[in-house]
Amino acid sequence: MDLNLDAPHSMGTTIIGVTYNGGVVLGADSRTSTGMYVANRASDKITQLTDNVYVCRSGSAADSQVVSDYVRYFLHQHTIQLGQPATVKVSANLIRMLAYNNKNMLQTGLIVGGWDKYEGGKIYGIPLGGTVVEQPFAIGGSGSSYLYGFFDQAWKENMTKEEAEQLVVKAVSLAIARDGASGGVVRTVIINSEGVTRNFYPGDKLQLWHEELEPQNSLLDILNAAGPEPMAI
């Protein structure tokens, strides 16, 4: 096998996790592809681990699902044993344990996000290899390549919940515009002390970007539309 260190595996999907003043916002696209075919155009890549911790999945669908399933199982038992909700850090470390010890077999990048009473809203990025990095925001998946510059410019500390969600939706939408492996709808999950809110943004609710046109029902509607007003002198 050729050691080409400059070309890591690219992964289908765009996933994002962002902290704000009081919690976290997780976001993802909804495209699952097998080669060039879109196997599922409305997948849910933001998966629940506990009441207060969710994970964004990217890479191999099977690998990310089995890792989430194991961690949900471990966390369930941990919660019973502990007598209170699991922390985001413990959740992230369990994911790390699986990702690191099975690094040769797994191809999945994950973003763990949630809220607990000790640390508030936290985001942990767990890329290929099983490194854990706590970050104020994290991006992942093949679509994230197009967002590094965007976040370098647009990210600010201490955003409000609304600002954070707007940022996430805008970012996923921009990535979908350029990444063939990302598409469909934008899903967001907001987690804070009050609980969890799931949101759904279909393509027509999103801003149009460069070279994108307003969707129409048919050409016929355009042709039949009233022409411009005649000039009057």
């Binding site: 096998m1 050691l3 260190l5 400059d6 070309a7 890591p8 089995v66 194991y70 471990f74 038992q77 941990h78 019973i80 044993q81 790390r96 344990m97 699986l98 990702a99 690191y100 010890n101 099975n102 690094k103 040769n104 077999m105 990025g125 890329p127 290929l128 290899g129 099983g130 490194t131 854990v132 990095v133 970050q135 390549s145 590094y148």
Partner: protein
């Protein structure tokens, strides 16, 4: 339902029936083939009062400068500093091993504490044994420290090559920093001169190493203890006549 004993769940390998390695190619999958998230050079020197170690805060993902807040130099026990380049997940695992080592050392409660030589020796054994199993920890480690007045600095590579020296560097630092250190290092360097020497090396690395970022930390260890500086950036110099119009003499050249 069995409640899991957390002490046991330190490592979980997803159970798969792979058959036996002699008959089955896939069973040979327990080896690290290549790194994913990597740290670049570490540069370290002995100075008058102890050891100074510098690194940037970057974690590269192939050619992408993906993470810019990774601490690659950590205190180990009371007497040592460990810096790592290479795969960050393996470095994090090494820190876990060392946590356990230090914990067990403290549990003896006998007034003794692990010194840099002992930590270096432990790491050498770990790295070499992994190399023998064709499953290396993909790091080059730099271990520096002071105990009972004795200043120590050494490094271990991913294949278990281990040695001590007055100044060490990993990765690109081998090529770019070592020549500077060979020329300018002295045993009686003050803290200020030591920092300036390291910064000289780090600046060259910033100019010439594609995976370097301009955010670094310098850590110091002396008999008194460890301090890791806050992250900071170095000024760089671009105002050379030759830089202003490099192709004036030969159109089309670079």
């Amino acid at each position: 339902m069995l409640l899991i004993l957390w002490g046991v769940l330190i490592q979980f390998t997803i159970p798969i029936d792979n058959g036996d390695a002699l008959k089955n190619a896939e069973a040979d999958s327990q080896r690290t083939l290549y790194p994913y998230v990597t740290g670049t050079s570490i540069v370290a020197i002995k100075y008058k009062d102890g050891v100074l170690m510098a690194s940037d805060m970057g974690g590269s993902y192939g050619s992408t400068l993906r993470y810019k807040n990774i601490e690659r130099v950590k205190a180990i026990g009371k007497h040592s500093l460990l810096g790592a380049s290479g795969e960050i997940s393996d470095f994090q695992e090494i820190l876990r091993y060392l946590d356990e080592l230090v914990l067990n050392d403290n549990m003896w409660d006998d007034g003794n504490s692990l010194g840099p030589k002992e930590v270096h020796n432990y790491l050498t054994r770990v790295m070499y044994n992994r190399r023998n199993k064709f499953n290396p920890l993909w790091n080059t480690l730099v271990l520096g420290g002071v105990k009972n007045g004795e200043i120590y600095l050494g490094m271990v590579s991913m294949i278990g090559v281990s040695f001590e020296d007055n100044h060490v560097a990993t990765g690109f630092g081998n090529h770019l920093a070592r020549p500077i250190l060979r020329d300018e290092w002295r045993a009686d360097l003050s803290f200020e001169d030591g920092v300036k020497l390291l910064e000289k090396c780090m600046r060259v690395l910033l100019y010439r190493d594609r995976s370097a970022i301009n955010k670094l930390q310098i850590a110091k260890i002396t008999e008194e203890g460890v301090t890791v500086s806050q992250p900071y950036s170095l000024k760089t110099f671009w105002e050379f006549q030759a830089f202003h119009n490099p192709t004036a003499g030969a159109q089309g050249s670079w």
